[in-house]
């Protein structure tokens, strides 16, 4: 195991950011810390980096006891949400910073900077100032800067959070491919479950300072450990006292299945290739997701009588008893 977090707690005044967190992050993999804003995931990442100190617990990085090690001695690469570009230095100087601190020979530094700028596609911008780059370019520069020192682990704090949707998606794919090339143990924080599911090998779900579940994206999506994880990773609807995903519901236009629930189509909302259907049943409204083709085939219209049943192989969970 590459990063061992044991019994870590952290408070900010009255606010409990982390409450006895235990996590093992495997070597060479891309792990996501996923959770809602203010849930403590960024704090955990900053504690691993040494930018924040834990009130209790220990951190071991690649076998090195690091709990009381200052940030500059942990050899971690850290990438900030808002880039933290050194504004007065050129792109090349930014990337070279860690190497110059380590007093590497000039020729080595130049070579390594060139390699890295190549890797992040910024070679032609080497002499620009960060202010002359776009957000996506700045973040790639920050990544190159963090990778320059050959860190034991690479930590990214909401790395794409400040970018617009399109760039975010592109950078996300690019990060995945970069990781496949470089293979450095990588941990990134995100509040976007889609990002986590798409990019990571493993996901740690953190909420209210506690670890809710650790697993592969498939495990988390298909076998959520609890209500929170299920709700956080995707939309949930309730059909016949059972919680399930809206796209895991089968819609029939004729009664047949005795276990199906009857209802009336209340609203049809088309979003691109998908159609969100709200069906009023005796137990309340149910949300169903179908493709546009499905809806056409079934000829659904508002006011129509339909019968709903969980699709075969769908993950379902009982609705918790209130109180």
């Amino acid at each position: 195991m590459s990063i061992e977090v044991k019994g870590v707690s952290k408070r900010f005044g009255d606010f409990v950011a982390l409450d006895d967190v235990n996590v093992s992050i495997p070597s060479g993999q891309l792990t996501a810390l996923l959770g809602p804003s203010g849930g403590g995931k960024s704090t955990l990442l900053r504690i691993i980096a040494g930018l924040e100190s834990a009130d209790a617990g220990s951190i071991v990085i690649e076998g090195v006891e690091s709990t009381n090690l200052p940030a500059q001695k942990r050899n971690v690469g850290f990438v900030f949400q808002h880039y933290a570009a050194f504004k007065h230095m050129s792109v090349a100087k930014n990337v070279a910073f860690g190497l110059e601190i380590r007093k590497r020979p000039k020729a080595d530094v130049a070579r390594r900077v060139e390699e890295l700028l190549e890797l992040v596609h910024l070679s032609q911008f080497a002499h620009r100032l960060p202010a002359q780059l776009s957000g996506g370019q700045r973040q790639r520069m920050a990544l190159a800067r963090a990778l320059a020192v050959e860190p034991t682990v690479l930590l990214l704090d909401e790395p794409f959070g400040a970018l617009d949707a399109k760039v975010r998606k592109e950078l996300r794919d690019w990060l995945r491919r970069l990781h496949d090339e470089v293979h450095v143990t990588t941990v990134f924080v995100t509040h976007d479950q889609e990002e986590a599911l798409e990019v990571s090998d493993e996901i740690v779900v953190i909420n209210e300072g506690r670890v809710e579940q650790i697993g592969t994206p498939d495990q988390l999506y298909d076998e959520p450990a609890n209500e929170f994880v299920m709700g956080f990773l995707g939309e949930v609807t309730v059909l016949d006292n059972v919680r399930l995903r809206p796209h895991d519901i089968e819609v029939m236009v004729a009664p047949g299945d005795p276990l199906s629930t009857p209802g009336t189509v209340k609203r049809l909302l088309r979003v691109g290739f998908e159609v969100r259907i709200t069906v009023a049943t005796a137990q309340g409204d149910v949300t169903v997701l179908l493709t546009r083709t499905n809806v056409r085939q079934l000829g659904l219209e508002v006011g129509q009588q339909v019968w709903l049943a969980p699709a075969a192989g769908a993950h379902t969970a009982p609705v918790p008893v209130a109180g």
């Binding site: 200052p70 900030f80 596609h121």
Partner: protein, 292 residues
Amino acid sequence: MADTSVADRPVRIAPVPRTQRRRWRPKSPATYLIRLVVVVYLVLLVAWPVALVATNTFDGGLDSVREVLEDPDVMTALRLTALVAVCSVVINTVFGVGMSLLLVRYQFPGKRALSALIDLPLSVSPIVVGVSLVLVYGGRDGWFGPALESAGFQVIFATPGIVMATAFVALPLVIREVVPVLEEIGTEQEQAARSLGASSVQTFWRITLPAIKWAVVYGVVLSMARSLGEFGAVKVVSGNVLGETRTATLVVEEKYLNFDQQGAYAVAFLLAMVSVACIVIVAIIRPKEEKR
């Protein structure tokens, strides 16, 4: 990896000219009236009197300035003023940058009171500054003065006292420039440097200092102008001994009161030149810096 399309288009940061940024509006008569009032007010209060000092100085050609510069007493005074100003600026710069870092980056009890008290020297009368220093460091019956004097260290009526008085009045200037900039740049760049292996000393010299560089420069320039021109506080603590503790501003007073108006104007002109030069330097650097 063929994703050069990611976002390789550089951001264009062509500055929008002010004239385009705001919609053009027809100017009302009120605009012209206000402009006229402001210009006339500033000309009568500042521009004209300052210009007159320049012309008065050169009434008799360059002779008066040359005469003054050849006067050994004036030269001693100018040298003393320069020495005192440099000492006080160096002290205030080191103290100011350090204090700004402490006030912005750290949390400690009494911080709010301290940050309010730091501004106090700006609103204390220079005469009060002088009196307060005499009360503590006065050689005869100050609190610490007699002890220091018996140890061979004279403060009041000597150069150290003049330096202290000058440092006192100019104390907040560097801090007032640096604190807002430190607040604005935040700590992320410093944290990034730390995570890349830089020690706190390396982080300060390589990251923090370059980021606050211009604020420090403004602070230094303003302190310099203030230090060169300090008069009241220096008058109280210096004893005004000819050729020893008489600074340039004291020379202006002395010459004027002794009916050497030409001499007074000449020295005043030299001092005014330096402080106006300071202001112009700031005016030139500042807009350039803000564009970055």
